[in-house]
Structure formats: C-alpha cells, structure tokens
Symmetry: C2
C-alpha cells in the first residue's frame, strides 16, 4: 500500500513535471512559430515578401554578418499613402476643410481669403492650386489660438463623425492591413517603429497610437509653433500661426535627426517626398532596407504614380531599383488592403 | 527492485519538479522583491523616499483610484543638476571651451569675437557675463558646418579624455547614483523616462543611452538648425549657425509638447528653469509628482540655491511646497552621490 502510494506520487509528479516542462517549452516554441510563420499574412508569397523576411532575419540573428544590436533597430514609415490612404485627397485636408466650414460663421475675416473661400465652398481645384504652401496656410491660420486639448478634441470628433467619400469608412480605418502586419513583424524583432510624415504631427498623434500602436513620441511630422501661456486662468500650450517645421523631402532626414537622433535601418515610403528619407537611410554602410509602396490597384484601392498630384512617385521608380530599394506592387503583393472595419 | 527503481524515480522527479517550481516561483518572487524593496537603495529612509514609493505604487496598482494606464506613464527629467552635476559650470560649457581652444588655430576669425576670446583664454567671468545668449552663440558658431557624425565623434573624444576639475572623474561619471535608481524604479513600473534639458540635444544624445539607459529619441533639449546637403559626395546632416529651439523655462512645456506629445505624470528638476515644466505637469487633474533636487551637500557635492549663477533655485523653494512638490534634500535624503567609477 505504501509502495502503491509512492508509485502514484511518482506518476503524478512525473506528469506535473512533464507538464511544467511542456508549458515552458510550448511558450518558447509558439513564440518562435509566430515569428517565423504567422506574420505578414496579408502579403502574398513572392520576391517582395521574401526580401522583407530575409532582411529582418539577417539583421536580427545573432552571429549573422549583418546583425544589428536592438538599440540601433530603427524603422521609419511615411504615413500618407504608406500606412493609410491619401486619395482622392490627403485626409488631413478633408479634416481642415470640414473644420473651416464648421467654424466659418465665427470668422467673418476668412471670407476675404481665397484659400479659405475655396475650402468653404469645397473648391478642390482652387485649394490644390495654392499648392503645398496654400494648404499649410489653411491649416496654420485655421488652428491658431487653439490649445493642444481643443485641437485633440476637434480631431477626435471629426474622426468619429466623418467618412471617406469613396469607401464610406471612418478615416482611421483607411489604414493598410499588410502595413499593420509589417509593423508587428518589426516590433516582434525589436525594431522601434516611427512615423516620419509630411502631415501634421499633432493631427497624427491623436489617432496613431490606437490605429498603429505607435505612441505620440514616436511620431515625427510637420508643425506650427506653440507657446506656453495663461489662458482662462490655466497655463496652456497654444498653437500660433507661425510655421515651425515642414517634414517633407529633405526635411525628413532633418526631422529624423531632430526627433529620433539615430540613423534608421529601414525606411518605408510611397512618394518622391520620401526620396531623401530612403536615400539617407540606405546610403549608410551595412545592410539597409528601402521600401516603396507603389499604388497599382485601381480595383481595391487607387492606381497612381508619376502623374498624380498627390503622392507622386517618379524618381523613386526610376532610381529606386538601382539603389536596391524594394518596390511593393500593391495589386500583386497584397491579398488584403484594409483591416476588418469596427463598423461591420 | 522494481519498486525501488520507481521510488527513486519518484524522488528524482519530485526533486526535479520541486526544483522547476522553485525556479519559476523564484524568478517571480525575486522580481516582486526587487520592485518593492531593492530599488532606491541610495535613498535614505524618510518622508522623501516614502512619497516617491507611494506615488509610484498608487499610480501603477490596478484598481487604485489613482491608477494610470501604462501608455500614459510619462516621466520627464531635467539633466544639468538633476541627473548629473553642473558645478563649477555646466559641463557642456567645459566641452565648448575645450573645443574652441583646440580649433582656434584653424579659425583666425574667432580672435575678433569677445565670447570666443573669453573661451580661448579661459575667462569664465567674461563667458558667464555674456549670459545664456552668449553661451548659446559660442556653441552655435563653434559647431556650424559640422556633420552629425563629426559632432558625435568630437563629444565622444572629449568625454574620454577630459576630467572634472574638482573630482577628477570623467564627466559622464558625474551622474547621480540615486537618480539612476529612480530611473530604474520608474522603468520597472512601466514609466517611460525622458530627458527634457536646457542643454544641447545632440550633446546629450551622444552619452545618455550609455549613462542613463535613455535612448536618443527620448531626449529633448536645446538645438541649432541643421540641413540635409551634399558634402564630399555624400548626403549629410550638417549643423548651421541658426537657433532652432531653447528648451528652458517656458520652452520646456513646449519641448514636451513638440517631442513627446503627451502630458507627463512625473516631472523632476532642480532649478527655476524647471519651474514651468513642473507647473505644466502638476497642474493637471489627477495624482501628479513634482520633484525638486535641492543641492544641500557642500561636503560630498555642492551647496547652492537662490544665489547661484548656475542652477538657481528660488521660486521652486518658495512656491513648490504649496503646489505639493517634493523637495529632495541631497545631504539628508541621499546616502550616495556618484556611482562607482569605471576607472577604479
């Protein structure tokens, strides 16, 4: 009887022991499996997907000749046209137009300004005719005097009430599923991911954490100046109508230098506004990745490149390949465009 | 014999099982023990230490009324006089003087500039007489035309060859051991820690990761402008002699807004240059922590406050307590000042 007891105990503890070992091993195994197979599900098999996987493997495998220490694994992503859509016009422009229309009754002085007039009557040609400078002026002037909290509330309110004109989706669901998977894939390999966008830094910060898991302090963008001043008995950050920084073209490497302070290992963009960012990243010695998202899918998204007013991609396509940049063909390389909508 | 075998197996597997349990439990236990008891070793028991521990416990314990979600746990630290020393003069000024002396033979035009002249002959009174503006001018003009890599190499070289005039330590070992422990304590409770310094952002970024474990993209500081341009056949970030941002006084909340984009929960400083940063942080509703390091230790460090040219602390001491800010008395609250030197 005594022996029987001990045998039972032996079997029991063996089971528990084996189970506890299994448990430990399983955790590690499943982690490994996820890292190797479960990422990038919306990317079709092919040269593009393989080149991304190979790059990450080579830069994150210890003893690899191309190994990069965790602390230096920096990946920078453009936003408009790279992480989310940008057609038929930049989404922040849609926000600014809606804001100006809503606020116009309180600002009779706006009616004398041609840029504001174009916004109020929805004259897109007139707006685009003013070029980048006109758009920046619109955003700058319309938001002057707002506190950081007021601006955040205005953007949040707009996101929850507005829908994209073609898809009917909320704008923060016009994000690209394959890019969400790429962000996750990189983070799982200890890359820090940053947004480096021509768009407004404060506009992006309102929703980027929820949409992409990218916190405000990993967002670089264009900005107007701000002051710290008393307002209604409280000290506030208040936006002022003075340009601070344009984070586009050669501004992107400068923005990276100012905000990140480390040279990236991976740069991802979609337009010639990203050329300098990819150039800055990939000219460095050592293995580097430049990735260009080419909008080729007129059925599921939009097809545009060298002739487009928005997101023009010309130099990237002609010079990119000779620089070793990988061009992602959306129609061919992606089996899904958008994530499942929360509305559905 | 068979029974004996099984008994042995029983005992063996029990041992292994117990050991494996122990191993798992120990890891968790020791983690918990470290979190609760082993941090802040260089802080003497007392009201200051208790108030820090209580604050962190209340803001990081789920179901606490003061619980703050991980993503919002932002702590900002001044650098000069808070994380490292600043006497007998700002360490970056020591760097700039050494740099100007070394480079002067290549810049005959400097001899006509009184600020450069004061630096070259080591006339500290003349230098300080120019005030903050003079010092910024010195740093700006002396570094114009340098690439980001050249600047980093110059700072690294200076750090490895220079010693503090009073202690003989390398400057990057003039950091405060109790503050290193505070940074660790906060990080272990999922606070993200940032430097928000009046000092130069690029100067700080060279050594802050090694000294404090704070990566370049968590450093906010003063800066001059930079361009992205061709230099010797390579595209480079080049510093230009134009002021970009002064991250001091009311500039600190603006710097936090621009770089971090979230309001801090904890702000730590030591001078009136940090007043606005602590004000901005602690005026928010909800539990917030403002901490002021008061240099009271003339034996182990330096004793100075309201009359000091460098690190003047006057308003903080008079207004701080009524705002609920905690004043750290270095002589009383810290049992150690500096970490063990790597030289020793």
């Amino acid at each position: 009887m005594k022996n029987y007891h001990i045998n039972l105990l032996a079997i029991l503890s063996l089971f528990v022991f084996i189970f506890s070992c299994q448990f430990t091993t399983n955790t590690k195994d499943s982690e490994t499996i996820i890292l190797e197979y479960n990422f990038l599900e919306s990317w079709n098999e092919g040269a593009t997907k393989t080149s991304i996987q190979d790059f990450v493997k080579r830069t994150t495998t210890e003893n690899s000749a191309d190994f990069i220490p965790e602390k230096d694994r920096i990946a920078v992503f453009d936003n408009d046209g790279t992480l989310w859509g940008e057609q038929p016009y930049y989404f922040q422009l849609a926000y600014a137009i809606d804001f100006v229309k809503k606020e116009a009754p309180n600002h009779p002085e706006w009616s004398k300004d041609p840029i504001f007039q174009a916004a109020i009557v929805g004259d897109m040609k007139g707006l685009m005719g003013g070029g980048e400078k006109g758009l920046i002026e619109l955003v700058m002037k319309s938001h002057a005097g707002m506190t950081e909290d007021q601006f955040e509330a205005a953007v949040r309110n707009w996101l929850s009430t507005s829908r994209h004109p073609d898809t009917g989706r909320p704008y923060d669901e016009m994000i690209f599923q394959p890019m969400l998977e790429l962000l996750d894939f990189l983070r799982a390999h200890d890359y820090k991911v940053f947004i480096v966008s021509g768009g407004g830094i404060d506009f992006l910060r309102v929703w980027a954490e929820e949409a992409y898991g990218i916190p405000p302090y990993h967002v670089v963008g264009s900005s107007i100046k701000a002051t710290y001043q008393e307002l209604n008995g409280k000290m506030e950050i208040v936006k002022i109508p003075e340009l601070n920084f344009i984070d586009d073209k050669s501004g992107k490497p400068v923005g990276i230098h100012q905000h990140i302070g480390k040279k990236p290992i991976i740069a991802v963009g979609n337009s010639d506004g990203d050329f300098e960012m990819l150039e800055y990243t990939t000219q460095l010695p050592g293995l580097r990745l430049g990735l260009l998202i080419h909008h080729t899918d007129s059925v599921r998204e939009y097809a545009y490149d060298s002739l487009s007013h928005i997101g023009r991609l010309r130099i990237g396509l002609t010079e990119g390949p000779s620089r070793g940049w990988v061009v992602v063909d959306m129609a061919k390389d992606w089996n899904t465009i958008y994530p499942i909508s929360k509305d559905q």
